[in-house]
């Protein structure tokens, strides 16, 4: 396709970054920078400057803390994955965190009323879908900008949550619900699943390469294919082994990954997903080729609603309670949109990936987690988290081969 002789290092880098696999690069880079800072640089600095320190305590990178980090980021990640879908359309959802709150509150009330946990989950997921779809309809059919509709949703759902939870909070003891965050996947099963996934990827890639050759299509470069597999395998086994080293993979994390995989597949490999990207890239073009732009928009908002409900369930399970401040009142809203954007999803639509949202959520989660370990004052923590976030993202931007800017 091109004369590789002419390709410099920076070109190669640029090509790599343009590949599907390369889209992970910036956020992985940011994550690595933050982990390096909290996990290595900071303890080393402590060790060198505090003469009485006996040894380098790498708490941040300890399996236990990584376990915490995953669990702490899970709700943000769940919402961010959902929000990514509407961001792909060029829309925004400010109400996702409040929707999660309403769903969690409803969940609490339902199990309190004696409903079995699984039934309550099914109901709140349906409710979440309806809440999302209702907003989607206002956006798609009435034509109000999504920012305004979901801002109204944010207010309304915050109120609704308070209505459902008059005392502001409710404890959740249902064993099924608590189990979601408590049940651990046996060590061996976790490894087996990871192995299965990697083996599946390899098989699919080989079959694909074979079929492409048969169809006379250009081959994917082996470096890209094997690089991608190697990366996934490293991340996957790294995560499973680390989690196993502390406890095991929690069911909640497994569920999150499974849901994200499903949504990732839908967004990249089905006509529906293609139409989401098309609408985000050029809504008028999508309309003109006969896509039902309105229905797509409603469906996307229904998906955020579902993901918000799932986030609500995860949160209720993990917090052991439903409280107004954990969902609607807090910073969840900005953090989950931030996670999606840090993951590289454009606010203008048409570019992004649900997987990156999970990495973005880890970036956001790591800031809070790492700073809490650092023992700084509240003010310093906030200032640091701003600075570190900026640095981590800027490092990537600066390292990017020069182009025509943004």
């Amino acid at each position: 396709m091109q004369d590789s002789a002419f390709l410099g290092m920076s070109d190669r880098l640029r090509i790599l970054r343009q590949s599907r696999f390369g889209a992970f690069a910036p956020v992985l880079f940011a994550l690595a920078a933050i982990w390096g800072y909290f996990g290595l640089a900071l303890p080393l600095w402590d060790y060198l400057t505090t003469p009485e320190a006996q040894n380098l305590r790498l708490i941040f990178l300890s399996p236990r803390n990584i376990y915490n980090l995953f669990m702490q980021s899970a709700v943000i990640a769940t919402l961010a994955v959902g929000i990514t879908v509407v961001l792909l359309l060029g829309d925004i959802d400010l109400s996702a965190a409040a929707t999660a709150g309403v769903c969690a509150a409803l969940l609490g009330v339902l199990v309190l009323a004696g409903l079995p946990g699984w039934a309550a989950c099914v109901i709140v997921i349906a409710v979440g879908a309806v809440m999302g779809a209702a907003q989607g309809m206002l956006i798609a059919y009435v034509g109000i900008p999504s920012f305004v509709v979901t801002l109204a949703g944010l207010l309304g759902f915050q109120g609704l949550m308070q209505k459902i939870l008059p005392t502001g909070n409710l404890n959740i003891d249902d064993p099924f619900l608590r189990g979601i965050s408590r049940i651990l996947v046996p060590d061996m099963l976790g490894l087996a699943i990871a192995a299965l996934i990697v083996a599946g990827m390899i098989a699919l890639s080989l079959r694909r390469q074979h079929r492409r050759r048969e169809a006379g299509l250009e081959q994917d470069s082996p470096i890209a294919v094997w690089g991608q597999i190697a990366m996934v395998a490293t991340l996957l086994f790294g995560a499973v082994l680390t989690l196993n080293a502390y406890r095991s993979v929690p069911l909640l994390i497994l569920l999150l990954v499974a849901i994200t995989a499903a949504l990732g597949w839908v967004t990249t490999s089905t006509p529906f997903g293609r139409s989401i990207f098309a609408v985000g890239g050029n809504a008028e073009s999508a309309r003109r080729v006969g896509m039902n732009v309105r229905r797509i928009r409603v469906a996307a908002f229904a998906i955020v609603g579902i993901m918000a409900a799932v986030g609500g369930i995860f949160g209720a399970s993990r917090y052991g309670s439903v409280s107004y401040t954990a969902f609607a009142g807090g910073s969840l809203l900005l953090e989950s949109i931030g996670a999606a954007v840090i993951g590289g999803t454009s606010l203008f639509g048409g570019r992004g990936s649900v997987w990156n949202a999970i990495l973005g959520a880890l970036v956001i989660g790591s800031l809070g987690n790492g700073l809490d370990l650092s023992g700084a004052s509240a003010a310093d923590k906030l200032m640091f988290s701003g600075a570190i976030l900026l640095l981590a993202v800027a490092l990537d931007a600066v390292s990017r081969p020069a182009g025509q800017g943004r």
């Binding site: 839908v266 089905t270 006509p271 529906f272 293609r274 098309a278 050029n282 073009s285 003109r288 896509m291």
Partner: protein, 282 residues
């Protein structure tokens, strides 16, 4: 050359071509189409028709309303007034989906591509082939058969001889003007249809590619399609068209059989209208 009937042209009913090409044979016929954009009255009661196995050229000055008429036919704009007939049956076109369902395909002047998607995806946009064996899923959620999509795209591009476009996995955002246009053309002519409308399809194309498009148009005619061809290039128009419809200021001027007219006559009709008009514009 002007006959008595043409003196009634202008904003009134247009002189249609001789009876042989008239109403009964028409595959797609619209009449009395009006379209406003805010204060701009872009179409003022336009009548238009095209038969199967015919290439109808639509010409007119810049801003005459050609693209607007095409968009109305394709359902991209909804007309303020006017009727649609397909094979004599009145039909309703409320959106692009309706038009596509009626077998109407179009190359828009502004191409209507998604820059964030690759060539293959743009070529199948809205009609992605899905893998067999997933019948239990709703169509929109079945896996896309991307191999088939790429093969189809490759073939379509090759046919138009755009040799510089090497990969169907290149993002459309990085393509040259001609490469993009080729993709838009390939998308429209590749789909099942009975009416194909091309709005200045060769504006950005090179000499060889233009030739291919003209060949494609002729082939479409031979296979019984109704083809509408918009262009400012008189040579191309006289090469491929059977009839020529002239629009001016959003209204019909007249329709000629190509063999009965000359480029000069058409240019005059486009820019100055027919006799009466000339007097007025003078």
């Amino acid at each position: 050359m002007m006959t008595a009937s043409t003196t009634t042209a202008g904003h009134q009913a247009p002189p249609t071509a001789p009876p042989t090409g008239a109403g009964d044979r028409a595959h797609l016929r619209v009449s009395g189409i009006h379209k406003h954009f805010g204060g701009v009255h872009a179409l003022r009661g336009v009548d238009f028709e095209v038969a199967r196995g015919e290439v109808m050229a639509l010409v007119g000055d810049n801003g005459a309303g050609k693209s607007t008429l095409m968009k109305v036919l394709a359902g991209a704009h909804v007309a303020d007034a006017g009727t649609f007939h397909l094979d004599g049956q009145q039909v309703h076109v409320g959106g692009p989906k309706d038009a596509a369902a009626l077998g109407i395909q179009i190359v828009y002047q502004d191409l209507a591509l998604c820059e964030n998607l690759d060539v293959a995806a743009n070529l199948s946009l809205g009609a992605e082939p899905v893998r067999p064996g997933f019948g239990f899923l709703p169509r929109l959620l079945r896996p896309i058969d991307d191999l088939r999509m790429e093969v189809k795209a490759k073939r379509a591009i090759d046919q138009l001889q755009v040799r510089t476009l090497k990969s169907v996995r290149a993002q459309v955002g990085g393509l040259s003007g001609g490469q993009r246009q080729a993709i838009a053309i390939a998308r429209a002519v590749g789909a099942d249809s009975s009416v194909v409308m091309l709005d200045e399809p060769t504006a950005a194309l090179g000499v060889a590619q233009t030739r291919q498009v003209l060949n494609v148009v002729k082939r479409l005619r031979e296979t019984g399609h109704a083809v509408i061809y918009i262009s400012h290039n008189m040579r191309d128009i006289f090469e491929v068209s059977d009839r020529i419809c002239v629009l001016r200021h959003g209204a019909n001027v007249a329709t000629w059989r190509t063999q009965d007219t000359t480029p000069d006559e058409i240019v005059v009709a486009m820019t100055r209208g027919l006799e009466k008009e000339v007097g007025r514009a003078g």
